[in-house]
Symmetry: C2
Subunit: 211 residues, 2 copies
């Protein structure tokens, strides 16, 4: 049983806000993510800034790339990222060309299949992000057994699975005993009054459940 | 029969390069696109710059958004975009929340279905981008009857369909007599020695075929 890592998703609208949060949690988290919205707003300067702030952590560029995987992968790597994301709607050649540059995670949104996931792992893409969409969540869905079973199935297929989308400390116990690779928290940390305390709450819950 | 519009996709790595191309083609094209790679690199400043250069044209932010549609839509609109893109893997609530802010095009990459497309149009999302992936193209696929039939079928469903992915002037005749909404050319224009002449070649071919 490996202890899950903790990732902060910095879905802020500008670099200064991201830096303001990151400096408070960098000693607690394992992975620092430049969120998609932040990259839209500021470009890959966001990744460069987070790399500068967190030289010893894993930095993720959450580009959710659908095309031109090789080009985007190279740019992300040059900006200092260790990992980038591709969307599940990207073709396998796009994912593979990205993976030739940088470690790729596939983000699971709408309309993916196990058959497709098998093609990814056969092609050497072994990181997945199991995602509950923010908008789907607003539309009334909640974490539960269905999510747990999907995550377990993907781990059994051989994937390193990260879990995200409205993850709060109380969600973690659903996954007790499961080899989750990383828990990704966004607003629960960067939207908290005290981001350091919020990150510690996640960390303590991980330590309690996976000991 | 409506004459298709012409769109330049500025998939450049920085704003100055995009501006350098855009100023040469802005009098020829109908839609100016801030490409995904450009937005990754420079953020929404890319959209603001293109809006400033082309105040009377349609400006598209090719974000390929998968989540947080409302937030991204608002940011794109505030940056001056008229349209933005969502990826086919986005959930319907994500697309709808984006559409509440700005006109949305759904980009068709891997693993979409007609059943899903029907849900989009039922939800009021009526623009699609039929896309041949650059990486899939590299892997050996070419424009042909299969593409033509897919595009026709989507138009028959009621969609305004834009066509992209390695589009060159000689590809256009495949679609003669079909109500394509927009032809999108990227490298064929911004990678040309003379971008203005390249754009004119597309424009003349559209005028010849749809007269």
């Amino acid at each position: 049983m490996t202890k899950p890592m903790l990732q902060v998703a910095l879905d802020t609208k500008d670099i200064p806000t991201a830096i303001g949060v990151a400096r408070q949690v960098v000693d607690v988290v394992d992975v620092v993510e430049a969120g998609t919205l932040l990259i839209y707003e500021e470009g890959l300067s966001a990744v460069r800034s987070l790399r500068a702030l967190a030289p010893d952590k894993i930095v993720l560029a959450d580009t959710k790339t659908a095309d031109a995987g090789g080009d985007v992968g190279k740019e992300c790597k040059d900006a200092g990222a260790d990992w980038m994301t591709c969307i599940n709607a990207a073709t396998v050649p796009t994912m593979v060309s990205a993976q030739e540059q940088i470690e790729v995670q596939v983000e699971l949104y709408n309309n993916w299949t196990e058959e497709l996931a098998q093609k990814w792992i056969d092609a050497g893409i072994d990181q997945l992000v199991y995602h509950q969409s923010r908008d789907a969540k607003i539309a009334g869905q909640a974490w539960g057994e269905k999510d747990l079973n999907e995550v377990k199935k993907l781990i059994d297929m051989g994937f390193k699975v990260s879990v995200t989308g409205g993850v709060k400390p109380e969600v973690l116990k659903l996954f007790k005993g499961v080899d989750v690779y990383t828990f990704i928290a966004g607003r629960a940390i960067h939207g908290a009054k005290d981001p350091h305390a919020a990150a510690m709450e996640f960390k303590n819950e991980i330590d309690r459940l996976w000991n």
